[in-house]
């Protein structure tokens, strides 16, 4: 490999995911999406959450944080505002992003923070060996719900669309090309983007298998109008009847990301690049 290639090489340790796990397809897609944008490890900032998904921290080279469980979104926002000229991603599972960290997702949406959230939606807690997740289908039997889960699944797409996210897509781990395209589009979008990736967990989820997803997903056609928020919201309701549209459900074209609403970040100079100390003479006037 040439020097440049080495620098751009995203591969870290060999993944330790179960053979057949949907995460293999996702990491392939993520690398594809990044390298097709010419982005190497030092060009991006990634907040990896805690979970099988988040274990990607050791498999994908990047400026990165392996955050606390459920907290990848706030950490990603901090990184973005500190260095807003860089692309920032948050990578995590459904438990982390929709369960433990649900509040952060909600508020990142309405803030329209310019980060891309990559959600590995396997409808189960993988790393803790198989408990119910916020996206588990009602009635699913898991370690923590041996009698079947009582809650209905969260609807992540509807949540994001209705609460201010300006880019919302869904894809399926089996199709790396599609996953990569969704991630690329999400990253290129200015504002908050959520990519919900349906991801089979072959070890702890025997309900939502590859077969299941083949049967319950379909690709949005070219006739689909992703610019209408009400339409996107209605589309996202198919989730309730276990129909999963794949593609970009919603994109707001005139989105103004959070940082561009802050006067001090409407410049190419990021916060971390500033050496100048502020002139505080105003304060002595204020305090007399």
């Amino acid at each position: 490999m040439s020097q440049a290639n080495i620098i751009k090489d995203l591969s870290g340790y060999t993944p330790t995911w179960c053979p057949g796990c949907g995460n293999w397809g996702i990491i392939r897609a993520l690398k594809l999406a990044l390298s097709e944008q010419g982005l190497g490890p030092t060009d991006i900032f990634v907040a990896f959450d805690i979970g099988c998904s988040g274990n990607m921290n050791d498999f994908l080279h990047a400026n990165s944080m392996h955050t606390l469980h459920g907290r990848s979104i706030p950490s990603a926002i901090g990184m973005k505002l500190a260095h807003h000229t860089k692309q920032v991603l948050a990578v995590g599972g459904d438990g982390a992003l929709y369960g433990e960290g649900g509040n952060h997702l909600l508020h990142a949406c309405r803030g329209n923070h310019d980060i891309t959230v990559v959600a590995h939606d396997n409808m189960v807690y993988g790393l803790t060996t198989g408990q119910t997740a916020p996206t588990s289908t009602r009635g699913m039997k898991t370690k923590s719900t041996p009698g079947g889960s009582v809650e209905m699944s969260i609807n992540p797409l509807a949540l994001a669309i209705s609460q201010g996210a300006t880019f919302v897509a869904q894809t399926f781990a089996n199709n790396s090309r599609h996953v990569a395209d969704m991630i690329k589009a999400a990253m290129q979008h200015k504002g908050f983007s959520l990519v919900n990736i349906l991801q089979p967990c072959v070890t702890f989820n025997w309900v939502n298998t590859y077969q299941y997803f083949f049967e319950h997903t379909y690709y949005l056609g070219s006739e689909y109008d992703k610019s209408s928020m009400p339409l996107a919201l209605l589309k996202s309701l198919e989730h309730i009847s276990e129909r999963f549209p794949l593609g970009v459900l919603y994109e707001k074209s005139d989105s103004v990301p959070y940082h561009l609403s802050l006067p001090m970040l409407r410049t190419e100079k990021s916060l971390v690049s500033r050496a100048d100390r502020p002139d505080l003479s105003f304060a002595s006037r204020e305090f007399v």
Partner: protein, 598 residues
């Protein structure tokens, strides 16, 4: 010389606003002033007080007696009658308030003035300012200027109206003098006693929260993330208001968990950052604190304490989070806790906190409390300027470029501190802020040797901070031992920390004036404690802990850290835990009653 002045009334009627104006007026008159305000955790309906003390020397505590009390309502008088002395003056509403007791009572026609000018209750307080100035024999023109400054935005009509009301107060006193001999004599005395100093030292009036905000900006903090919580909220408001001038990113976010985890995002990316809250909000941050400890991220956490547990007494004061702060966060990791004694301390220690966080790449906690955070204090502008001109950011081993290859973020080192590369500039090197145990290269590990190495590396930073291991950076900055005040031969030493400093020193002076020698040992660097601190404690002396909590927490820390058996007995504790700041008189009284018992 010191003089206390107090105003109180219904919450929501501008007591604190006018009170602050008076604090500033005292300062502008050349005195050092300090104020303390009490108010309920209600927007309306409760009772608000503004108590201030001015003096010819720096002060940051009030005292038990009130020299001038303004009583617009019966309860204003009733609640403080016991604090009046024969020398006290009471300005009272002659239509509303019935007085009893021996002091100089001056009836004021508040009702009549209000009716005459159709003034709102809020404005009536201005009358008291005018009257007070007349009593002190101070220059009325000062009030005019203050009103012009404060109401500049509200227009000339409001300015004129307020001036008029102040003048009514002033005039009423002048009038009283003519037929009240006692008042005349008193005023003549006061004119002399309260004569503003000839040489005026320039001062700033700041709260502890102002000072923290100010010093954060001075330290070059790029971001502040917070969720409002009394008594820390004014830091958020102040820094938010300053954004256009400081360029700081100030975020009011969804909860305290987000506050700390966003802060860690900034920290990882290389931006100096702080977050602030009170005990309850801090409780939600302790997991994040632990992450900062593990990933070795620098972050300053500002805690303005209030009485707990739980929601507790939201608008009152306490020093009850010392043990909690020290042990906050799961697992074992280094952490530095600082507790400023007054506003100037707050400026200096905030600057130091940001440096320490960077140097030791670990969280630094500043413990303030409502008494320090929300009280105004006049400090010398010269001191502030000196601090500012002397200050140079010390980021320790945080760098934008590295000569290492491969770059090892968590490289073991004799002082426990590794080079931290600010990510995003170097085109080759990258690292993870890993919440898992990791190797030197920041990758996850579960290996025994790696775990031991990193755990020992982290805890070694503590030793470096304490001066036990030499720091391998450019400039050393670390632990500072407690400060001793007073007679070195004193057989009894008051031990205190943080905001109780001034009251304790006052108590020492009172006792001294009565011929009783006590010393004061004041801690600002409350955790960790250098083992050498042990030698400060003389086994033959008596140490009495003065704290605004119920457990004598500093004594626990000293026992735990230094292994000396001090402060465990009730007789060696002077504590207050009802939400009120401990005052010099509390200390003196408790000290006397305990000395008798033992």
């Amino acid at each position: 010389m010191s003089f206390t002045w107090k105003l109180s009334g219904e919450a929501g009627y501008g007591i604190t606003t006018i009170g602050l104006a008076f604090t500033k007026l005292c300062t502008r008159s050349g005195f050092y002033a300090f104020d303390y305000s009490e108010f309920p955790s209600l927007i309306r309906g409760g009772f608000t007080t503004h108590e201030l003390i001015f003096s010819d020397s720096p002060i940051s505590t009030t005292k038990a007696t009130i020299d001038l009390l303004v009583a617009l309502r019966q309860d204003s008088f009733d609640m403080d009658a016991h604090r009046l002395t024969p020398d006290s003056i009471v300005l009272y509403d002659d239509q509303e308030v019935k007085l009893s007791g021996g002091f100089l009572a001056i009836p004021m026609p508040y009702r009549a003035i209000k009716l005459k000018h159709k003034a709102h209750q809020v404005m009536v307080n201005t009358v008291s300012i005018g009257a007070s100035f007349a009593i002190f024999g101070w220059d009325f023109a000062m009030i005019d200027r203050m009103i012009e400054d404060d109401f500049a935005k509200k227009g000339q009509a409001v300015i004129d109206f307020n001036k008029l009301l102040a003048k009514e107060g002033w005039d009423h006193i002048q009038q009283c003098i003519t037929d009240n001999v006692k008042l005349k004599t008193k005023i003549d005395q006061l004119k002399h006693a309260l004569k503003p100093p000839m040489t005026k030292v320039s001062k700033q009036v700041m709260t502890g929260n102002d000072a923290f905000a100010y010093a954060s900006a001075m330290a070059g903090a790029g971001a502040y993330t917070a969720y409002p919580m009394s008594p820390s909220s004014s830091v958020l408001a102040t820094l938010a208001a300053w954004q256009p001038k400081t360029g700081m990113v100030v975020l009011h976010i969804e909860d305290e968990i987000s506050a700390i985890n966003q802060a860690l995002g900034f920290a990882y990316a290389g931006v100096r950052v702080a977050t602030g809250t009170s005990g309850g909000g801090f409780a939600l941050m302790v997991e994040g604190l632990s992450y900062a400890g593990m990933a070795e991220l620098p972050v300053v956490v500002f805690i303005a304490q209030r009485p707990g547990p739980a929601t507790g007494l939201p608008t009152w004061t306490a020093q009850a989070e010392l043990l909690f702060a020290i042990h906050a966060g799961h697992g074992e990791f280094p952490k530095i806790v600082l507790a400023p004694g007054d506003v100037t301390d707050m400026i200096e220690l905030t600057l130091k906190a940001f440096d320490l966080a960077d140097i030791y790449q670990t969280p630094v906690i500043i413990l303030s409390d409502k008494a320090l955070s929300e009280s105004h204090e006049s400090i010398n502008l010269e001191d502030v300027k000196k601090i500012q001109s002397k200050y140079v950011q010390n980021r320790g081993k945080i760098v934008k470029n590295t000569t290492q290859s491969p770059y090892l973020r968590y490289k073991d080192s004799p002082d426990g501190i590794s080079e931290m590369l600010i990510p995003g500039f170097d085109p080759v090197h990258h690292w993870q802020a890993n919440s898992y145990e990791h190797r030197e290269d920041s990758h996850t590990t579960e290996g025994s040797l790696d775990a031991i190495k990193q755990s020992e590396k982290r805890s070694r930073k503590n030793k470096t901070y304490l001066g036990d291991i030499p720091y391998l950076g450019e400039k050393y900055l670390g632990f500072a031992p407690p400060q001793y005040y007073g007679n070195t031969n004193a057989q009894t030493v008051f031990v205190c920390w943080g905001s109780t400093k001034s009251a304790t020193l006052d108590a020492m002076n009172i006792l001294e004036s009565r011929g009783q020698h006590v010393g004061v040992l004041h801690f600002t660097h409350v955790y960790p404690l250098a083992p050498s601190t042990k030698s400060i404690f003389d086994p033959d002396k008596r140490y009495v802990f003065v704290e605004n909590n119920s457990e004598a927490q500093l004594a626990k820390v000293i026992r735990m850290e230094l292994g000396i058996d001090v402060g465990g007995q009730k007789k060696d504790q002077i504590l207050r835990y009802d939400g009120r700041p401990i005052l010099a008189e509390d200390i003196v009284n408790q000290f006397h009653s305990q000395s008798i018992k033992t």
